[in-house]
Amino acid sequence: MNKKEFLIEIQDIMLLDNINETTAIEVDSMASLLLIAFLDEEFSTSISQEQIKSIKYVSDIIEFIGDENIK
């Protein structure tokens, strides 16, 4: 998955338009489930409720996954 594809996925999960790495996000309960499923499916990684709570920007998700894992 490249960064453009990644941003489109996050955009769909967060129900936002035209996001970039600096976009501020608020992860509600449904978005939490969608994000968990997305990270499990695409990156085989799990993110805890506590880790989700600390997400403030799109860049926080990229940092969690590891920038090197997004082409």
Binding site: D28, S29, M30, S32, L33, I36, A37, D40, E41, S46, I47, S48, Q49, I52
Partner: protein, 331 residues
């Protein structure tokens, strides 16, 4: 020598809580999200009835349609008993006018409870301790959900099921895989009211998720962590159950998982690669009834001709504890 499920009946309390009802209480309640993503439109609520009342009604239904007097054991699964003591199964024996030379016990499990109940039945019947068992699942979680907790109020409903398990020549309940991880005990919990923490009239109101409120006298669920637990462990559970029974996916005619919520179930279906037509998904009118979802689903699937006599059905229960388990039944 084997065990079979002779009959299943369920009973749901008459009072209902619809999404429209919830919308009146919570202005920010998202009707379409709950219907489309969670898959629930309404849930039955035991306002006046207790878990034992529900259990009595489901038991009466199943006993009326089978040979009433031959029950020699009651297994009663609940997390919301009428009393801390005595044992609910003992009271149910008396209410049903069953004979006194029978065994009766309660066991405390949630969404894995029916699978564990089947395992207990198999053990009791295989060892000759019992020949015909009344297996009851019954819960009234809604009595323990805070009025301001719209998240859990939208997910859970009340209900009870009663199954008759008996000896048969064929092995209609196959091998089990049972699992436990108590490190996640606090992911789904009612903290107060047991012997460790008394009920506290002044328990502080706490907020979680999307403006949901609860206190420690009430049910609390860390939804995302429960989801993580499920998607990590249930695919492996399915493989383990198949391995134990030396079967493969193609030999399973139908899959019935604990009906937790639509989103979770659809994700599991996709991850495990189960064909849509072989996968049970129906909690629109009943919601998550904890240990009762699987037996309700078996009856729904049979009545709707989704399963027929001779079919192999894989059952998987998972949730509070944390506890999870699976088996394969031949209908």
């Amino acid at each position: 020598m084997g065990v079979k499920i002779e009959k299943i009946e369920f009973y749901l309390p008459s009072d209902k809580l619809t999404n429209e009802d919830l919308k009146k209480e919570f202005v920010d309640f998202d009707l379409s999200k709950v219907e489309n993503k969670i898959g629930i439109k309404s849930r039955h609520i035991a306002n006046k009835e207790t878990s034992l009342d529900l259990a009595y009604n489901s038991s009466l239904k199943v006993l009326k349609s089978t040979k009433y007097k031959n029950i020699d054991f009651i297994l009663y699964c609940t997390q919301t008993p009428d009393y801390i003591l005595p044992t609910s199964a003992c009271i149910l024996q008396d209410k049903l006018n069953l004979k006194t030379d029978i065994g009766a016990l309660d066991f405390n499990l949630g969404c894995s409870g029916y699978v564990y109940g089947l395992a207990l039945c198999k053990g009791l019947i295989d060892t000759g301790i019992a020949k015909r068992i009344l297996l009851v699942t019954t819960d009234t979680y809604t009595k323990y959900i805070h009025k301001q907790d719209k998240g859990n109020r939208s997910i859970f409903g009340d209900g009870s099921t009663a199954s008759i398990l008996s000896y048969c020549d064929k092995n209609n309940i196959k091998e089990f895989q049972l699992n436990t991880d108590g490190s996640g005990y606090d992911k789904l919990i009612i903290k107060n009211g047991g012997s460790k923490y008394s009920l506290d009239e002044n328990s502080a109101l706490k907020m979680y998720g999307d403006n949901n409120y609860y206190n420690d006298n009430c049910l609390y669920m860390q939804g995302p962590d429960i989801f993580n637990f499920t998607i990590k462990n249930i695919p492996k559970l399915i493989n383990d159950v198949l391995d134990k029974n030396k079967m493969n996916m193609d030999e399973i005619d139908y899959f019935i998982f604990h009906q937790a919520n639509k989103f979770m179930l659809k994700y599991l279906m996709k991850k495990i690669k189960i064909p849509k037509e072989k996968f049970h998904l129906n909690l629109t009118e009943t919601a998550n009834t904890v240990s009762s979802t699987i037996p309700i689903a078996i009856k729904q699937a049979f009545d709707d001709n989704k399963i027929k006599i001779g079919d192999n059905v894989l059952l998987a229960g998972f949730g509070v504890g944390l506890s999870w388990g699976g088996t394969i039944i031949t209908v």
